[in-house]
Every structure is written in C-alpha cells, then in structure tokens.
Symmetry: none
Subunit: 231 residues, 2 copies
DNA sequence: CTGGAGCCGTAAGGGATCCGTCAGTGCGAC
DNA sequence: GTCGCACTGACGGATCCCTTACGGCTCCAG
C-alpha cells in the first residue's frame, strides 16, 4: 500500500512520513506541485495526501491534472478552513478534506476509509494505438517509425483536441462536446475548426492520413477515437 | 439520485430534506435505526446520510448492518467530535464523517464527492437482438456476420430513429411520437419519412429485410421494436 | 366479384449539407 | 524580420435528407 505525500513544509512532511510508516504504508514524498504530479504518474500510489498551499501549481490544479488520467483517492490536508476552499477542492475531484491541525487517529481512519474501496488501480496514463504513444500525464506524444521512437510536436490546440478524443475511446464525441472542451463555450458554430485540426492530427499521427484507422469521423455527428488492436 | 437521510431530530430532518431537494436529490427519510436499515434495504438509495445519535440501534450498528449487504456510500453526520467516535464510524464502514454544526455548502460538496465515484457501475446500455448489437452509450452499432463483428454505418437520422425504437422495447411507438422525437415538432404529416428510414434500417439490420423479425410495423399506428430471444 | 382508396415498402434523383484540403492572413514571441 | 500558431475563406467531392414516383397489399363500398 503506497501513499504519496505532497507538502511544502519539511516538518509536516517528516511527521506524516513517520506516522504513515508506523501504520505500515510505503511513503513517497513530493515538495512541489509539479513533483507531486510526476510522482502520481510514475509511482502509482494507492492514495494521494495533498497539501493545498504548495508553490508552483495550486492545489486545485494538481487535483484536476491527476483526475485527468487517474482515479486514485485524493485526501486534501489544508490550513484553509473556508467552506469555499473545501467545496472547490472536493468538486474538482478530491475525495476528502481535512483541516490543520488534525488528529493522527482521525487522519489514519480517513485514509483507511478511502483505501478500503480501492478499485483495481494501475490505470496507465499512457494510451497506445498503431505506432503512436500518448502520455496523458506528461503531455507528450511519441511515434515509433522504423524501430526509432521520435517525439511528435503538437500545438496546444492540437493537444487539447487529441486529449478529448483519447479520453473517450471507442466512443462518439459530438462536435458540440469538442467545441465546448477545446475552444470553450460560445463556439458552437465553428465546426470548421474541427475539420482543420482533425486533418492536422491525422497528418501527424495516422500512417495513411487519407484513410484514417484510429481517428475516424461520424458524418453529421462528430469524431471517434478507435485504439484498435494493441500492437 | 436518491439519498436516505436518517436522523432522530425532526428539525434537522426537515432542514436536510429541503437542502437536498434543492440540490436535485430524491430524499427518503428515517427517524430510527431500524427504520434506516429498512429503508436502506428497500429503497436502494445512492447515498446514506446517517446521524449517530439515534434511539434503538447505535450508529455503528447501523453501519455494520448496511455494510453486511451493500456498498452504498455512507456519510455520517454527528454531534460527537471525539476522535474515538470518528475512528469507530470510519473503520466500521462509513466513508465520511461530518460534525455538527456543519455548513450546507460543504455537506453538499462531500455528497457530490461520494456519489461521483459510484456512477461507473451503471446499467449496461447495450441492447442485443438477432446478430445486432446496439451500444447506446458509445453510439455504435455492430453486426456479427460469420463470427466477424463488423461496424454498421448509420446516418444521424437513422440513428435517432433507431434510438427511439430501442429505448421502447416491445412497445408500440406511434408515428406521432417518432416524428416529434426524430424530426422535431411540426412534421406531423410527414409519415413518409418513417417508411423511408424504416426501410433503410431494416436493410442494414435485419437478416431478411423483406420479412422483418425485430423491426415491425403496426399498420395505421406506428412501429415496434421486438428484441426477441437472446442469441 | 370488382374497383378504388388508403397505407406500406421500394427505388431513383436532385439539392443541400458536410467533409477534407489547400492557400492565405493576422498576431504575438523570439 | 522570422517563425509558429490560430484562424479565415474557398473549392471539389462525398454524403445525407428529402422529394417524387410506382407497385403491392388490405379493406370496404358498390
């Protein structure tokens, strides 16, 4: 049972490490938001203990990023007692919220309650299809042509487009949904964007851009990402 | 989304009922531990809001009893702030613990956090008939001919037509209903559309389009979808 | 029995829409 | 300036929706 502890205060970090270790957990530490994201992606923790007041990324940003590819339980520990902060964290994807100072017994009990439900985790934040590999955590796309792994350069808009599709495998993604999530609301009639960026994605990711295999279109409705057979 | 509220204080009960109702939840009330158990068993709530200080059964007993047959999320609301009570409730099977007095916003957020996770095990939105498989969630239709699963291409209108029929199995769907839901209001007299698209659907989905088995017509009234025997 | 009126199923064609593609412009960063 | 990115506009070509037409069927009046 592995727990990722993210806090910028070395003292609290040490105290939590000792406490959790005493309860039999394996502990991984992170002192910044970006480090926490990195560890969450590659250490596959069974639970994330997250402090909100870290430098760099805000706590809410960290939660949103993790929720982008993982369903790991997130327990927020924060000095902020305002209801607004709690609601924001919980609605972004946190599973529980404890305010400092907290009692060790209660924290341990809440950790047990969250890990108890543990569903089969180890959901890889990497999606593969054809000769392409998409790393949702690192925002990186690579392609192996001729046994050689080469990075694929995507523009921010291209990435946002691809991300929406990859997170809904085998499922129709309507034009409306794509426009809302990539360009934001208010672009309901700009379906020309979709044609344009889909063409660019196919040019960069499909073996035969003229006859796509993984990035398909459902005429009149939207687009669809089909991973197909693992290769 | 149904919530069972168990509390012995009528005032709190009424307040919670109003609060939850305002958030769009269906609310079931119980004023004793035994009543709560009964309701949890027969009402199939999506979440249980449980007060610890009820007469009859103790809160921990109620939690243990529910956990004996159900994994429904349990949120404990209690006046007891002692760490011992929290640990006992959480370790018995509760998923969260909030102390009175509590803020309405925070409680609502914690309810959302608990119900969010429970959604995935929804009903299987797949309908099968003959050699056809309709996946309503993924918006996909496949047909297995000769042991090979092949995708069926449907136009948007064909899909809308099929969707209405599939969502009303073994029931007569009147021409009026179909026209309203597929073409929108104002096409009450365009029953010719129905003949046309029904013919196309039968051609794509029926083994013998001339002698349909699953997509039947009720002369003068409308059409009917009959899944028939599972195959 | 016979003929006609609806209703249903089928086929073919035209117009509108949608899709893929390719230039080209504007704008900000370096 | 130069480069990269977002966006615009326009063009064939494919697809889709609707219209129109025709034949078969049932049912009922004559």
């Amino acid at each position: 049972m592995k727990i990722l502890v993210a806090d910028d205060d070395p003292q609290i970090l040490a105290a939590l490490r000792i406490l959790l270790h005493a309860h039999g957990y394996e502990v991984v530490l992170a002192r910044t938001g970006t480090a926490a994201l990195d560890a969450a992606a590659h250490e596959h923790p069974d639970l994330v203990l997250l402090d909100l007041g870290m430098p760099g990324l805000s706590g809410v940003q960290v939660i949103r990023a993790i929720r982008g590819w993982s369903t790991v339980p997130i327990l927020v520990v924060s000095g902020r007692t305002e209801s607004y902060d709690k609601v924001a964290a919980l609605d972004t994807g946190a599973d529980d919220y404890v305010t400092k100072p907290f009692l060790a017994d209660e924290l341990a009990a809440r950790i047990r309650a969250l890990t108890r439900r543990n569903v089969p985790d180890a959901e890889e934040p990497v999606v593969r299809f054809g000769d392409v590999e998409v790393d949702l955590a690192r925002h990186r796309v690579t392609r192996s042509v001729g046994g050689q792994e080469t990075a694929v350069r995507l523009t921010p808009t291209e990435w946002a487009f691809l991300e929406v599709l990859v997170r809904n495998p085998d499922r129709l993604v309507t034009r409306q949904y794509l426009l809302d999530h990539v360009w934001g609301p208010g672009h309901a009639n700009d379906s020309g964007y979709l044609r344009l960026y889909m063409a660019q994605l196919r040019k960069k990711l499909e073996r035969e851009p003229a006859e796509p295999v993984h990035l398909l279109t459902d005429p009149g409705l939207g687009y669809r990402f089909v991973p197909g057979a693992r290769s």
